[in-house]
Symmetry: C2
Subunit: 224 residues, 2 copies
DNA sequence: CGCACGCTTGATGCTGCTCAATTTGTGTGG
DNA sequence: CCACACAAATTGAGCAGCATCAAGCGTGCG
């Protein structure tokens, strides 16, 4: 994969070309295999990472327990706030699939941000996105039952991946459970209940037989 | 209160003087009484608000239930991300004490951010702070019991307000409960249990008789 | 004096976590 | 291609935390 195709990545695509080229001046690339830890919470990231391919779990540990904040997808920048503030990462990151990742020296990002107000705005937008997402997560945790969170996730994912109500999981159900903040057993039970609402799952494929009914059920309960 | 004293506020203090003066060019001021709603979630804030005096609850509602994200203190900027991204506020805001608030036109903030890289950096730092705080909250919700969250809040607040282990609540216990994400009854029960660990409370005063013991207890359980 | 509000305490039921036992699925080597 | 081993997913039983409903106090204010 070469420079020109990097410029197609959403994060870089939004920048004007000279900015993007400047960012890529000292870019490195790595292709970590599954279960590679990219960084541990409390460490300083030397590079802004951008996922080209694969999925990366962002999580935090305490007393042998883990909390999963997010499963980052291709095109997501990682450690953006830590890089921009010159601080440590507040989460650990590990690949949960084989991945390909761009690495841009932290100093380059900071320098460019200082010189290019448009880039600064892009960065602000990205950080704000993450912030808003985490606030939405808090609201979800507080107001929705496990079952409702699972139902909503399936509904929303089924809508965005518009394969006609068919979802292909990119990772195991256990990771989905972690993302939704519950143990695998509980997610499994939720799936069992959802079967009565027209949701079947075969391995990593989930099929929503009646999207409209599911939407109505979610709304009747509590949709955010 | 006049201009020169505004410049002492932490948010403005970090800026160089010309920047701060520019920000204050079109500043307005209001002094809402208790229980005034400043904005409702989904609305566009026309002004960046900065609390001079008083406390403001940031919350979100759904189906007659509320989630409190934060109780903002004097010097906190409100709606910063919405203003910078030109989007809507994702939370509602209401005063929970009589307050005094500065209002800076949103467009002024955006313009200045574009012209002044240092100001842009300050904004990034602020948004990142909020982001990190919300991630810490998620971790707390997921890993700590209600009792533990209450104990940790008292410990940390007792340390920062270093009145020698004496805490003066600026609002009722019910709001503290909301901030910690539990009903008032549960907070009350937590206080009852904490009495056995040397924490007394009289009205809005909380006294930690043995800070060290409390810290040890928190650590034995799970401190974040 | 009495009403309202904030806080506490008690009793009850539900949600969801934990532990444990199967069952299903997957990949490997004979 | 089958047999086996291992991991992933499901199902069941029991229990703890916590929300909810409801009642009892104390304090302040009209």
């Amino acid at each position: 994969m070469d420079r020109s195709s990097f410029l197609q990545l959403p994060f870089l695509r939004d920048l004007n070309e000279t900015t993007a080229v400047a960012l890529l001046a000292n870019v490195k690339q790595r292709s970590p295999r599954k279960w590679t830890t990219l960084i541990k919470e409390g460490e300083f990231p030397d590079f802004l990472h951008i996922i080209v391919d694969g999925f990366v779990e962002l999580f935090s540990s305490h007393n042998d327990k883990e909390v999963t904040f997010e499963i980052a997808e291709p095109a997501s920048p990682l450690f953006l706030t830590a890089v921009m503030c010159g601080g440590v990462s507040v989460y650990s990151a590990r690949t949960i699939t084989p991945s390909r990742i761009l690495m841009i020296p932290a100093q380059d990002v900071r320098d460019l941000c200082k010189r290019d107000p448009l880039f600064a705005q892009t960065i602000i937008n990205r950080i704000a996105d993450g912030y808003n997402r985490s606030l939405r997560d808090i609201k979800n945790i507080r107001l929705c039952s496990n079952f409702e969170r699972a139902a909503n996730w399936i509904l929303q994912t089924g809508r965005s991946q518009d394969n006609n109500g068919r979802i292909e999981l990119k990772f195991g159900k256990a990771k989905l459970a972690a993302l939704l903040g519950m143990p695998p057993e509980t997610l499994s039970r939720s799936f069992a209940l959802l079967r009565e609402h027209g949701v079947r799952s075969f391995g990593r494929t989930i099929i929503i037989e009646n999207m409209f009914a599911l939407a109505k059920m979610c709304h009747a309960k509590k949709t955010l």
